[in-house]
Symmetry: C2
Subunit: 361 residues, 2 copies
DNA sequence: ATGAAAGCGCTAACAT
DNA sequence: ATGTTAGCGCTTTCAT
């Protein structure tokens, strides 16, 4: 920058002002400065800038597992939304442990990120959250609702899970099994509540023999499925609690030679990227990934810039979409499922591409 | 930091030295400093640190599409590998355009990242690459080989694609179709060369009527498939050039009511996360994601730290893994495919989990 | 409209 | 073994 100033024959502060447009500069000087910048290939040093302005235009993203499609989609969407506003994204994997989460947060804090997006791990997250609060760095919690002192954004779980159950019940199923997620996650608990709600609304009783924990992962879900199927009165339909568990369920059913939906019906929470090519195609609740991402980023930016800023923390639950296909037992172009609180759409009217199926591998 | 120094009754430089262990400090003073740090909850400001040391311990990652499973897996693995060495990762999506790539690189440069990992877009990347070179920031190119002035890491494409073709040929197929990727990507070109090599080795001639471009995405791949199937002499087996195109092929086959592998055999480049639950399960080349990631990070760190540093740029091509399942037409526990240059393994001996199927959605 | 100078929070000589 | 001091490359008063 000193170099540029010298070449243009102006003071450093003038260079700064033409770069940032922070005060009027005569056309002549501006021209000379711009020229000098061009010649030298000068690129402002944001580190130095940050030191004085004490903002970094950095958003820290702490996720438990970047291998998870849902989180990845959210990260990708946030990165884009953020960059439109001049923010870059720093990634930190919490490795699904309380310690890893604390490390990740500290790393971000010491880099002085302007804001943090955090998908809290299961476990005692109080210390980290307290820390975040005392450091006063704007933070929004994503996916899992963990602490009402923070802004939180996630999918609406109860009604949508209920709608899955009600759909199966309307199809005549009375023994509907449920494969739930990891204990201690709000998503898990809410989806179970949705399951019970759906049963209730359908006039069906709750039977704990029809519920097992798939611990949010494929392999345990496969085991959980085995448990349910080996009951004296096994379920005739299954509700899977998330994308990975659906994989486990599918694998388990295949090994047992059971066909969906002839031998057993299957519906799931989370749409799967490849759901369209499964045979039969999966009836599922799709999460509003893009909306979650943009809600998070907008909220965060409001908090960071202080504009409209304060206000009490808010929890936003975005509705999922009931994607009606055939794994529930309905015919390929069958009638719409029994209407209820969920917005419905049939895949024949192509989805506003939730997954951009593009590019190279 | 001044606060900490005051509380501990020492000079700021002493605080710095206990924090960084950069010079011996008496146990007494160290104790007092540590105590003061504890009391104040002091967190070193890496921004200020970076300004003087002129390193940020930041790695910039420029990817064309974070929605792509393969890239995501690599990013996740790099993030972990990097953080083990004290580096954080800044993400930048090039939005698959030359302009987007340039913007992304500039953003990273202006943040003074210590190194960059770049998956070059298709198109004229020369300007960006020249820029990178002149800025002298250590850079490694990933996946697509674009410029030999840089370190490059990717999968070996030719031999592995050839092995796919040879396998089909050995099964008796003589009309083997190929759905290729986007023009201008080295992966696309190499896989086509592999296809031709496989044909040649199998004593089969090249017929351009059996080759079509799926432009690296699902929808165009589905069209490309249609093209091939409508030929007077359609292929009896298909080789798909990447994961997304496989989705398109699968979708296309389903719409035509063609069954794999009875009506047509299918093998693919890129293993798919859910390949195990497809019916039939997909025979594919799996990319060595973890190895690619750790190779990239190690290389980058060597260049950044200057240790062992200089040396000419090197191109590393890591071998893929032939994952033999049933979509090729082999029986579920069939014999191994005809051996050739590729390492083989049968899924029955469980893979060193390429995809951690864990966590929550 | 422009320049001079102070200072952001650190590290690294340079002293002692 | 510890303290003092001079910057790192910017932004931002405060003068002019």
């Amino acid at each position: 920058m000193t170099d540029v100033a010298a070449r243009a024959g102006v003071a450093a502060s003038t260079v700064s002002h033409v770069v940032n447009g922070t005060r009027p500069v005569s056309t002549e000087l501006r021209r000379r400065v711009l020229e000098a910048i061009e010649e030298t290939g000068y690129l402002p040093n944001r580190i130095a800038r940050s030191l004085v302005t004490s903002d970094t235009h950095l958003i820290g993203i702490v996720m438990s597992a970047l291998t998870n499609r849902f989180f990845v989609a959210v990260v990708a969407a946030m990165e884009r939304a953020g960059r439109r506003h001049g923010y870059s994204s720093v990634l930190a994997d919490s490795r699904d442990s309380v310690q890893g989460e604390a490390d990740a947060v500290n790393a971000l804090l010491s880099r002085r990120v302007d804001g943090i997006v955090l998908a809290p791990v299961a476990g005692d997250r109080k210390p980290v959250l307290d820390r975040l609060l005392s450091e006063e760095v704007p933070t929004v919690l994503i996916d899992r609702f963990a602490d009402s002192r923070f802004d939180q954004v996630g999918v609406e779980n109860i009604e949508s899970t209920a709608s899955l159950v009600e759909h199966l019940a309307a199809l005549g199923h009375s023994r509907i099994g449920f494969i739930g997620g990891l204990k201690g996650l709000s998503t898990t608990e809410e989806r179970i509540r949705g399951y019970r709600l759906g049963l209730e609304r359908s006039g069906l009783g709750y039977d704990h023999n029809l519920v097992a924990s798939g611990r949010s992962a494929a392999a345990p879900a496969e085991q959980a499925l085995g448990l349910l199927l080996d009951r004296p009165a096994p379920p005739t339909a299954i509700v899977s609690g998330n994308n990975y568990m659906t994989i486990g369920v599918l694998a388990g059913l295949r090994k047992r030679g059971m066909r969906v939906p002839d031998d057993i019906a299957l519906v799931a929470y989370d749409d799967i990227e490849f759901a369209e090519v499964f045979h039969p195609r999966l009836t599922a609740i799709a999460q509003p990934v893009l909306q979650i991402a943009s809600t998070v980023v907008n909220l965060l930016i409001r908090r960071m810039t202080g504009k409209d800023g304060a206000g009490p923390p808010q929890a936003t639950r975005l509705p999922g979409t009931f994607v009606h296909r055939e794994s529930c037992g309905c015919p390929p172009n069958g009638s719409a499922p029994p209407a209820r609180s969920q917005p419905r759409r049939h895949p024949e009217q192509p989805p506003r591409s939730r997954h951009a199926l593009v590019a190279e591998g």
